[in-house]
């Protein structure tokens, strides 16, 4: 298993009803190398929280995250983890510092790399931008000069800078229109086939999950209620909530 979560629980204090919100409740998932797992669920079901816990940005109340079969412990292990596991954040508009040029954004991704020469860095930047279909001459521009879709691709390029083995995509395409969505999805799929990238695709869109993933986990109110191969989930959904989700996703009466 490349990454595995075991019985993760995370609660937040909620100011609204003076109680506790169980954002992630007893979640155990695992992803094999070169496999893609789709994490689906409605808004507020704890997907982002789980991703942040996997990224070691938020510490869980209980439970463990294993990377390559080991708990990430100590500074050295964390450095390796940070180089090998990268995340694309939900909001392309706030995931890039408005004061950073694209070059600074991409260079920042390399903080943990060993010393690289300038030409190596330049070449790596051009390669990563190229792999998401962006020209190499945008390095001196600022994020606000780009559209949402372009920004999202810049974020993906940034995540690819260190050659990660696991990429977490948190709603990487949700904020984009359908056409751009298709392009970005295609880009990601190509990357996966070329480099053997492992993906954790977080989305509330079942179609996106179906087009990219081999396995699907459905979350509701912090719990995983369905966790199986794509075919099984789509053909024979066990939980009524999953059926509801699918009905919503593939029901065209509302859309047309």
């Amino acid at each position: 298993m490349l990454i595995e979560t075991r019985r993760i629980i995370k609660t937040f204090k909620s100011h609204a009803n003076k109680g506790l919100v169980k954002a992630v409740d007893d979640v155990s998932l695992s992803i094999k190398p070169q496999e893609s797992l789709g994490l689906v669920g409605e808004s507020g079901c704890g997907k982002t929280t789980l991703a942040r816990i996997i990224m070691h940005l938020v510490s869980p109340d209980s439970g463990e995250v294993f990377f390559d079969g080991k708990v990430v412990k100590g500074a050295e292990a964390l450095r390796l983890f940070r180089r090998k596991v990268r995340m694309v954040f939900q909001d392309p508009f706030s995931a890039l510092d408005p004061r950073f040029t694209i070059e600074a954004v991409l260079r920042e991704a390399l903080v943990l790399e060993q010393k690289m020469t300038c030409s190596e860095i330049k070449e790596r930047m051009a390669r990563c931008l190229g792999s998401v279909g962006l020209p190499g001459d945008i390095l001196s521009r600022y994020p606000h000069e780009f559209s949402g879709g372009e920004r999202q691709r810049i974020c993906i390029a940034r995540a690819l800078m260190t050659g990660p083995s696991l990429l977490i995509l948190d709603e990487a395409v949700s904020s984009l229109d359908v056409l751009v969505q298709q392009q970005v999805l295609k880009t990601i799929d190509e990357l996966r086939q070329k480099t053997g990238l492992t993906l954790l695709v977080i989305t509330h869109n079942l179609r996106v999950a179906r087009s990219l993933c081999q396995k699907i986990a459905v979350m509701k109110e912090g719990r995983v209620i369905e966790y199986d191969g794509v075919k099984e989930v789509f053909d024979t959904p066990k939980d009524p909530y999953t059926r509801q989700l699918m009905k919503a996703a593939f029901d065209h009466t509302l859309a047309s």
């Binding site: 940005l57 940070r82 510092d97």
Partner: protein, 341 residues
């Protein structure tokens, strides 16, 4: 940053003030050249001599600029008055190691003389060095501390935040001027002028950082929730580096305005301290200690020109305030409130 500067430039008043301050700073820097006398050049015979008139007409004929000699007399109330002595002329010499001087035995007092016959104009320019530099250096130090403490408290939150903010409150709780006096009292008597100067800067910075730290902390609390901060963290960027590159730069437009608005406080505190004799010591000049002579009301009525430093303090404080206000208005919200959508 560029658009902030541009909208600042549209504020004509602020630009004028910037020029005035620039001129003042340059004059202070070149005081050695621009003044006719050194700050400690005494002439007891000219005690409280009024501003000298520069003449260019002598007995109906045009002449090089010159000043008449001054004859001291006593009026009916036994007050010292100076009368121009038309028989003694002293010509003004230009560009002789100083911009202008006057031939001996005449003396030139553009803004009048103080009790020991020292030139007030010269002392104001030399004093500007002290007063302005204390303001600028003091504010720089306390802003460095304020930004760092506020940044750390806001970014890390939790216990760190708690401890640092209680510290801030302790500093802010004591009224500024009394804290100033108390800290000044702790400075040993044996210090020479330079050490006193340095210790005043340290004291003023110590008092000034807390207010800024609190505001910066508030801004950082919201800035750290931005996804680019999380992204940087997820890529292994160190906390200190995140604070320096992703957090504090976003407070820069606010802090620049706050910086300008707080400089007057430093200048006024130094003046107040020097006025009551606890700051810069005679013979060194500062705008504050030049005013200590004017605490005598009789003196003030007879020789009102010893109030000239007040004018300079006023101009300086006003300029910094106008510039600070203009900067605050010019702050570009799209850069700091989460980027443009």
């Amino acid at each position: 940053m560029r658009s902030m500067w541009q909208s600042f430039k549209e504020n004509r008043r602020a630009v004028v003030c910037l020029w005035v301050l620039g001129a003042l700073c340059v004059s202070a820097a070149f005081a050695d050249f621009l003044t006719p006398y050194s700050f400690k050049d005494e002439a007891r015979a000219f005690s409280y001599c009024p501003p000298t008139v520069v003449h260019i007409m002598h007995e109906g004929k045009l002449s090089r600029p010159f000043v008449y000699g001054q004859r001291m007399e006593f009026d009916t109330y036994h007050r010292r008055i100076y009368i121009e002595d038309k028989s003694a002329r002293s010509f003004i010499k230009f560009f002789q190691s100083r911009l202008f001087t006057v031939e001996a035995p005449g003396r030139i007092y553009l803004l009048g003389a103080d009790g020991r016959g020292r030139d007030i104009f010269s002392r104001i320019l030399y004093g500007a060095r002290v007063s302005l530099s204390i303001g600028l250096i003091g504010v720089t130090i306390s802003f460095a501390i304020g930004l760092l403490v506020g940044g750390i408290a806001g970014y890390f939150g939790g216990r760190m935040d708690n401890v640092l903010m209680r510290l801030c409150e302790m500093v802010m709780m004591v009224p500024g001027f009394y804290l100033l006096l108390a800290l000044r009292a702790a400075v040993p008597d044996s210090f020479n002028s330079l050490q006193v100067y340095a210790s005043i800067i340290v004291i003023l910075s110590f008092i000034g950082w807390a207010g800024l730290a609190r505001v910066i902390r508030g801004m950082c609390l919201s800035l750290r929730e931005r996804e680019y901060v999380l992204a940087a963290k997820s890529m292994g960027v160190s906390d200190m580096r995140i604070i320096m590159t992703h957090i504090l730069p976003h407070t820069v437009s606010y802090s620049l305005a706050a910086l300008m608005l707080s400089i007057p406080g430093y200048i006024l505190s130094e003046s107040a301290l020097s006025l009551i004799g606890l700051g810069i010591q005679d013979p060194y000049a500062s705008w504050g200690n030049m005013l200590s002579e004017s605490m005598n009301i009789v003196r003030l009525t007879f020789s009102p020109w010893i109030l000239w430093p007040v004018f300079f303090i006023f101009i300086t404080v006003m300029c910094f305030n106008v510039i600070g206000d203009a900067l605050r208005d010019a702050v570009d919200p799209s850069m700091d409130q989460g980027g443009s959508r």
